[in-house]
Structure formats: C-alpha cells, structure tokens
Amino acid sequence: MIVIIIAAALLIFSVFMFFSAVLGLYKFKYPINKMHATAVGDTLGLISAVIAIILLTGFSLTTLKLILIPVFAFLTSPVTTHLLAKTEVKFHGNKQGEYDEEEQ
C-alpha cells in the first residue's frame, strides 16, 4: 500500500513537470526559450515516471527495459536540443528579437 502511494506521488510530480513544460510552451515566445522549458519534462518528468512504474511492477526482466528508456532519453536529448538550436540560429539568428508579420 505504501509503495502504491509513493508511486502515485511520483506520477503526480511527473505530470506536474509535464504541465510546467506545456505551460512554458505556451508562455515563452521564442523557440530557444521553449527548449529550456520542455527539457524539464524530458529529464525530471520521464525519470520520476519510470521510477514510479518500476516501484509498481516490481523487479523483473522488464525493469531493465524500463531503465533503458531514461538512459536513451539522456543520451539523445542533448543531441536534439543542439541540432534544433543550430537550425534556429541558422534560419532566424539575426532576428531572434522579433517575429516578422509575414511569418505569423
């Protein structure tokens, strides 16, 4: 019973992190700021959800697969962020401060 309560608390925490990521997606104006906001959900939200599911299912061979997911996310998240920032700087690097009217 205690394990289920801890897992539910971790899942609520992870959902709160995803909520803050989506809130940042709506509040921030420029893509590099949005990357900062969504990285919270990619790291803290994912890892707390995976710990909660490991607590719920118990230890078995599936646990190793579950551990593989945040390891993979931690390896790939910096790569995608770097590539996205590079794309943003290449196409809109000189007008980071304002949006064009045509672009809206």
Partner: protein
C-alpha cells in the same frame, strides 16, 4: 468502471498532449513545431508506460522504447534536412527571398 488516481493521471496527460498538439499546429516557426512535437513524444512515452502497468501488458514497454527511438529519428531527419538544405543536389532556388541572403553568406 472504477475511478482512481491513475486514470485521472492518464486523463490529465491526454489533455496535456492535446494542448501541445494545438501549439504544434499554431507555432509560427518550424522550430516551434519541432519543439512541441518533441514534448509530445516524451508525454506519449510516459502515457504508454503507465498504460503498461494499468492493463498488465508488459509488451507495451517495448512499444515505449520504439517510440523513443522514433521521436529521436524524426528530430534528426528534420533538422538534417533543414541544416544541409544547400548541399542537396538539384534544388537550388526552392527558398526565395529570405533564403538567398543565407546562401550568399555561407556558400
């Protein structure tokens, strides 16, 4: 159908996914859209993981791993196409006006 904490969490996650999807459609720049799609990918992974415990179906963990690989590949392909646009053979003038200045700066 019984209502507990986990079904409420699934409903909230679905609402967040729909909100991020709306932002991905609305976003003015293409990088806005890619960031929103990246956020959707992570939320869908957590959704599938919770569902794998909720339905007692352990094969859904494999689906979550494949979804993580798929999201990474989608990001990689999109940014690769956008970054190395000038090097693709055959298409020179597909981006008029704004693209020309970029091409002249770094040929």
């Amino acid at each position: 159908m019984q209502i507990n904490v986990f079904s409420v969490i699934l409903i909230i996650l679905a609402a967040l996914i729909i909100a991020a999807l709306i932002k991905a459609v609305l976003g003015p720049r293409f990088t806005d859209r890619i960031v929103a799609v990246n956020c959707i990918s992570t939320m869908v992974i957590v959704f599938i993981l919770i569902l794998s415990w909720y339905l007692k179906a352990e094969y859904l963990v494999d689906v979550a791993i494949i979804y993580a690989l798929l999201g990474f590949t989608a990001n990689l392909v999109l940014t690769r196409i956008l970054l190395h646009k000038d090097q693709t053979p055959g298409k020179k003038k597909h981006r008029k006006g704004k693209g020309k200045e970029q091409e002249e700066e770094n040929p």
